[in-house]
């Protein structure tokens, strides 16, 4: 069946509908917003497959080892925007050995060769080198967007290459990367003729920047909408920058620290008053409370406030947040405490996402008065609240049941009770009942993290009720293999499962081996697995990559170890690319 079919049809007999030219299907598919829908369409028949893959412009590779870069380029030749994610999520917490992998270089090389028209590249949790950045700058004529999230391996030299080489750059978005400071004034390498920047985020950069150069850049980029500064920008310079870019929509203030001075305060206040379009605010904020009123004029317009690095506390903080009546997203430290959250509950009724981070995660002595109360209040008064990340030190089943009843519309519920195995502090019971209520009530729940004292019975509930759950994180929970079995035999939509420090062993893993191919990945560390079971799993499921990682100090290679040896970390993922060849010594693909 070819494209020529429809052209040959005589006028008297119209061609059957499915013989329409590819362009028609491509146009139809362009209305499908989600990649998963496009993927489903592509699976319908060969002509749709052809039409879909040849017109695909955006590609998201959720696991860089699930397919090879060449596979991706061959299958989707017309891609303009690509996003690739590398290391497993627990790499954020130091559980993945260094040099594990996730190099961006093969992807950049394949893209340079097969997708010369690429305009956007995003990497998350990958190792990006300066060479990669140089290659990006040199290979893509119309390169516009570079987004690097939680990456490492590059320095300001790589940024210099991007600045100098990407004539049409619109977005340079560096989020929480480890960037080596080579003292290269990369900002100065944006040519004087360069004016296309819309987003500039260098908040994670540790070193100094040339402020004069930054001011000139900000002044000439009239379309700049997002500006996120690093800690090196002093407060009075911030005021200057704001005056040069009053059209700003998103601002990261950097450190925002200075002794209170009325002149500086007035200057800041005036600068903010000029920013009529400011909607999103974030910053490191060693802020002195006396400066917070300088923001009052923008509060009402704010939809997003990220104070999760701010150590400011007390009544000034609460007064400030209470003025932000249109907030949809709020990220704060637990320094806000329960009474602060009560104020948030009554003032910020449009809140959709709340994250509360621990100010002293490793110091139990420094108690902050943030408990289950705060979350209950917010869940009761914010009808649009659907996403929560909450670190606290105590919880009750009753609170969780109340929260579940208040907010059946949760799509993401992540609760982290800081001390492992913490029970309900009033009844000393496990928190099974509470989390069960959450999964039973929140039918649209897509992401869940559980914590506290939990037995196998909570996993029975999760397996049975969490039909839409895609990502589940479990730590220090459960009491037997049954817990894991409930999850793997239930949870119809499960894509990512990450488990640490749970007494789950070989049996449920092997019994549910087929399930693993329906999932993106499984992570299990410090559980009760043996090497023999991992080998067996790998034999049984050839389309899974079974990676075993042991503590390097305990001896490699793993080949010499027997089937009975305990496995410290197991990472399993489905792949069409076969076993990867870039594993370090302490990782073995069995």
């Amino acid at each position: 069946m070819g494209r020529g079919g429809s052209r040959a049809a005589p006028a008297a007999a119209a061609p059957p509908w499915h013989v329409l030219p590819d362009e028609v299907w491509e146009h139809a598919f362009s209305f499908l917003p989600a990649d998963s829908d496009r993927g489903a369409a592509a699976a319908a028949c060969r002509s749709w497959l052809r039409a879909e893959r040849r017109s695909r412009r955006r590609l998201a590779v959720a696991n860089c080892y699930a397919a090879s870069p060449q596979d991706a380029v061959d299958r989707f030749p017309a891609v303009r925007a690509v996003e690739v994610k590398g290391k497993p999520h627990f790499a954020d917490f130091g559980l993945v050995p260094p040099a594990w992998g996730a190099a961006a270089a093969p992807w950049v090389a394949a893209a340079a060769d097969g997708w010369p028209l690429v305009e956007e590249i995003s990497f998350k949790r990958m190792v990006v080198t300066d060479d990669c950045l140089e290659m990006i700058a040199a290979s893509f004529r119309n390169f516009q967007v570079l987004r690097l999230v939680s990456c490492e391996g590059f320095s300001t030299a790589g940024l210099a290459a991007i600045a100098a080489g990407c004539r049409n750059l619109r977005e340079l978005d560096l989020q929480e990367n480890e960037i080596e400071d080579c003292s290269i004034h990369w900002l100065s390498l944006f040519p004087e003729s360069f004016t296309s920047l819309v987003t500039l985020n260098f908040s994670c950069l540790e070193g100094d920047v040339n402020i004069t150069v930054l001011e000139r850049l900000v002044t000439r980029c009239r379309n700049l909408k997002t500006l996120k500064l690093n800690n090196a920008i002093p407060l009075d310079k911030l005021a200057n920058l704001l005056r040069k870019a009053p059209q700003i929509v998103e601002l990261g203030t950097g450190r925002f620290s200075a002794d209170y001075h009325p002149d500086l305060f007035s200057k800041l206040e005036a600068a903010f008053a000029g920013c009529k379009s400011l909607r999103r605010l974030s910053g490191a904020w060693d802020a002195v409370p006396e400066y917070l009123p300088a923001f009052y004029c923008v509060c009402e317009g704010l939809t997003s406030l990220n104070l999760s690095y701010a150590t400011v506390r007390g009544p000034e903080l609460i007064k400030f947040i209470s003025r932000c009546k249109n907030l949809q997203l709020l990220w704060v430290m637990d320094l806000i405490e329960d009474h602060g959250l009560a104020v948030v509950a009554s003032s910020c009724n449009k809140l959709q996402e709340l994250r509360v981070f621990p100010s002293a995660p490793f110091d139990a002595a420094e108690q902050v008065s943030l408990t289950e109360r705060g979350l209950v209040d917010v869940s009761a008064s914010c009808p649009m609240l659907e996403s929560v990340l909450y670190f606290c030190r105590r919880m009750t089943n009753e609170a969780l049941i109340t929260i579940a009843k208040n907010r059946p519309n949760f799509t993401c519920f992540r609760l982290c009770i800081i001390e492992p195995h913490t029970p309900d502090y009033t009844t000393h019971q496990p928190l099974d009942a509470g989390f069960s209520a959450i999964v039973e009530s929140c039918k649209g729940l897509r992401r869940l993290s559980v914590s506290g004292l939990l037995t196998d019975s909570v996993f029975k509930s999760i397996g049975a009720h969490a039909d839409r759950l895609e990502m589940l994180s479990i730590a220090f929970a459960g009491n037997s293999d049954l817990g894991l079995h409930y999850i793997l035999s239930g949870c119809k939509s499960l894509k990512k499962l990450e488990i640490r420090d749970c007494p789950f062993g070989d049996k449920p893993l092997l019994a549910n081996a087929a399930k693993l191919e329906t999932m993106r990945s499984l992570w299990m560390s410090t559980c009760s697995l043996t090497l023999g079971a991992c080998r067996q799993l790998a034999r049984k499921m050839p389309r899974l990559s079974v990676e075993v990682m042991n503590d390097p100090r305990r001896g490699c290679p793993l080949d010499s170890l027997t089937d009975e040896s305990p496995v410290e970390t197991l990472y399993v993922y489905r792949t069409i690319a076969g076993p990867r060849s870039d594993t370090p010594a302490c990782v073995q693909i069995v």
Binding site: F93, E178, Y309, T311, P361, F362, P420, T455, N479, S528
Partner: protein
């Protein structure tokens, strides 16, 4: 679901630091029974550099490994951890150098000054008692020399702006952060 031995001890409420009392669970040898913890954890605790016994103070040394016994718990991103540690250390360093810790104490009539660490005291009462103790000799000498009158002393301090203020008006925390020098004044001057 029956709760096994491991979890029974885990249900005890603990106020200790993460991992300090649960370290017993961690170091159990793996047993064939279900629910056993792993012996690997002692290597991990060695790796994180803290022993079960010590508290390991985040405040004292930024270079010290995380206080948590358990690697990667609580699940706080390395980036956030580093940023917060750096901020906390910077703040502590600033506070150490800035005003309000070791301050000079002068007493009218005393031959030499003393120094006190304001952070040693939790409130004005303790400070007053400590100053009495420091300057006992001078006080009684002054009392003897006085014409049988009162040997009441007023404690004053010099704040950040250089003004002489009477101790006791503002909350303790505010006082410590703004006090630069202490001065014990003779009753007659104070009036």
């Amino acid at each position: 679901m029956e709760i096994d031995a491991d979890n029974l001890s885990a249900t005890e409420l603990r106020l200790g630091l993460p991992g300090t009392s649960s370290s017993d669970d961690w170091q159990k040898k793996p047993s064939p029974s279900v629910g056993a913890k792993r012996a690997l954890d002692d290597t991990r605790s060695e790796a994180s550099g803290t022993s079960p016994a010590t508290a390991g103070d985040l405040d004292h040394d930024t270079a010290a490994p995380p206080k948590a016994q358990v690697v990667g718990w609580p699940p706080v991103r390395a980036y956030r951890k580093n940023t917060f540690q750096a901020a906390a250390a910077a703040k502590k360093a600033e506070q150490q150098q800035g005003g309000g810790l070791y301050v000079k104490v002068s007493m009218d009539g005393a031959p030499y000054l003393r120094k006190v660490d304001l952070r040693m005291y939790k409130g004005y009462r303790e400070l007053s008692d400590a100053l009495d103790a420091l300057f006992t000799k001078s006080i009684s000498a002054a009392a003897a020399a006085a014409e049988g009158g009162e040997h009441q002393h007023a404690i004053a301090y010099e704040d950040k702006d250089g003004d002489l203020m009477l101790v006791g008006d503002v909350p303790w925390d505010m006082f410590i952060s703004s006090c630069k020098k202490l001065r014990i004044m003779k009753g007659s001057e104070a009036r």
